[in-house]
Assembly symmetry: C2
Homo-oligomer: 418 residues x 2
Amino acid sequence: MSLQQLMEDMGRQARQAAKALRTAGREQKDRALMLMADLLEENRQHLVRENRNDVEGAKEAGLSAAMIDRLTLSEAVIDSMIKGLHEVATLPDPVGEVTRMWKRPNGLLVGRMRIPLGVIGFIYESRPNVTVDAASLCLKSGNAVILKGGSEAINSNLALVSILEQALKNSGLPPKAIQVVPSTDREAVRILLEMEDSVDIIIPRGGEGLIRFVAANSRIPVLKHYKGVCHVYVDESADLEMALEICYNAKVQRPGVCNAMETLLVHESVAQEFLPAMFARFTDADVEIRGCEKTRKILPQVREASEEDWYEEYLDLILAVKVVRDMNEALNHIDKYGSNHTEAIVTTDYQRAQRFLTEVDSSVVLVNASTRFNDGGQLGLGAEIGINTSKLHAFGPMGLEELTTTKFVAFGSGQVRS
Amino acid sequence: MSLQQLMEDMGRQARQAAKALRTAGREQKDRALMLMADLLEENRQHLVRENRNDVEGAKEAGLSAAMIDRLTLSEAVIDSMIKGLHEVATLPDPVGEVTRMWKRPNGLLVGRMRIPLGVIGFIYESRPNVTVDAASLCLKSGNAVILKGGSEAINSNLALVSILEQALKNSGLPPKAIQVVPSTDREAVRILLEMEDSVDIIIPRGGEGLIRFVAANSRIPVLKHYKGVCHVYVDESADLEMALEICYNAKVQRPGVCNAMETLLVHESVAQEFLPAMFARFTDADVEIRGCEKTRKILPQVREASEEDWYEEYLDLILAVKVVRDMNEALNHIDKYGSNHTEAIVTTDYQRAQRFLTEVDSSVVLVNASTRFNDGGQLGLGAEIGINTSKLHAFGPMGLEELTTTKFVAFGSGQVRS
């Protein structure tokens, strides 16, 4: 069978499975999730063995230690997958919820009912635990999923999905609701992106290169974010102690992720007081500062920021710092260089807080809190399948609800249109 | 200036205008809408004159009488545009609404705030009044719009948009928030569909050919529907008098629109009683029936339906009729041949009503009401810019809310992530 045929078969089976999932109840889905957790527990040794093949292949291929670390299914990673399945089982089922209902003048009672999207194509890189996380969220929200993981993780992913399939089967759900592309051929991605009749939505997760490839080649709508150039603006009215903690957390707590701060904007009337204290904190944490001219007047030891720095997502212990004349300059800077991802203001001024919340065009806008809260779990969505920085469908972290849409339901008593 | 440059300039100006619209308040937007209505009133003669050029051109080009009718800006059509503007002004402003708010265990107060999508590309056919309808909905929802109307209507559209621009200007809003492509070159559509940096969403309205062209060539997400093959299922428990009225309304009241019934499914245990009565009503209204074998046993005078008939959107006084063994057969038929648009059941049975509402995967599902209610105005959305039968972003009629998205806003007191 050619790869094209194989993919099309997967698409047809996913569509069929999605139909059955539309009406699967919460109990049945949760039972399957709990069974998945049990089967992972039972098959630990098998998983570790299959994963070892991947890890050895990766070593032979000369992948970096960081990549190999991401690829490895340690006992701790298996624990976290099992815990994740339990957590998704406890989350409410979004499907069937009627979000609102109203009565028309003619007596027609109209509501909006949440329904699954259908079939999701999920394309990701080497972490095999993402396989289980994504599959569990798709299942709970009533969607079928076609998973295309990184080629380095193929043995791990096949082993994981065969366990998930078994759990679906034993719970009376269609086993083809969760499928993994069994090929490491990159052509499979291209074929998947053209299967618009059987796939409703594509979610890519990985580096900017992967996401740009997916966006450029997909005939199916893509929910994605390229990068997070997140800003914290320290206003002239800021509580500077609080600002110090928030900036430190936003930059240092986990610098390699998309919601870490990349640029700090400081109002000029507090820069003289704030920046030296900040610099001391950051220097202890090995953060390299790149500053604008005004910053360098206060901190002459820091390197000059270039125009490119303001666009940069460092994902590292590097921070661009700019001193701004006023809030307008901060807002204009964010508008020009930002990525519509996450921005925070530190202020004690009511009007500025409100203005920042209203005017900043980002998926998450915070007052007096760290940018690191742009995360489905942290914001209370339960768990997330990704973050979307395009505005269509869902803007920001996507949890179970964002994997659904709504249809209109109408209860009539013989209404006709005149 | 080349067409490419012209279009890109429009895109940049739209993006700039969208930025200003993000923070425009309801009063200002409504003032602009009311002023638009006043200026249309004042410029009736000018509009009729410009429209006459289009109509004469269309006549010379040999367009059909129906097309010319659609193209003509009669006094009644101008009245309806003015009325429409008043109505949109009275609708609530969706922008800024916080749809929900919740507190996290760490005290962070998180909500979702409605914001505009940004820039909308709206591509449509010859009705010039659609220009004003679409522009008013985009403005009210805080979006900038680039309008690409049919080439036959170019003079009318330019005249209309220059009036709308004037109203924006006089209300202190950016005049480039509403722009019309001043070229009749079809290449302009192709360019527009590739302007992914300046246009956030494409909404096409017109025949299936236009919509397929847009979907196949767009790099920007498209909200669209190809066709409406809408079904009414008359259940064995139906009140047959009610069923008669609903079916008649769904087919005859306005047969040329997407929410008219195209296929009637009748439970076999009521077919013998229902179909002759239905046939008599429909024959009076000149409706041609194409029936399945069982239908033709009851109504031998009707033509046989072919396999193609079940897929057909007639948009005309033609109806396909199928007698089904049970509700399962009805649901499977809808699943196979339907277009996820609008389906209705007529029943007095509680469980079947609930089952139909839950299982049918269409944007609007009705119990005991005509399919003709799939319409933004009829369902209570106020007014609609189109219907979407893909599930992403909005499923079904799209009103003002569907022209927005939500961002997360978070009120903190110094929260950092541990």
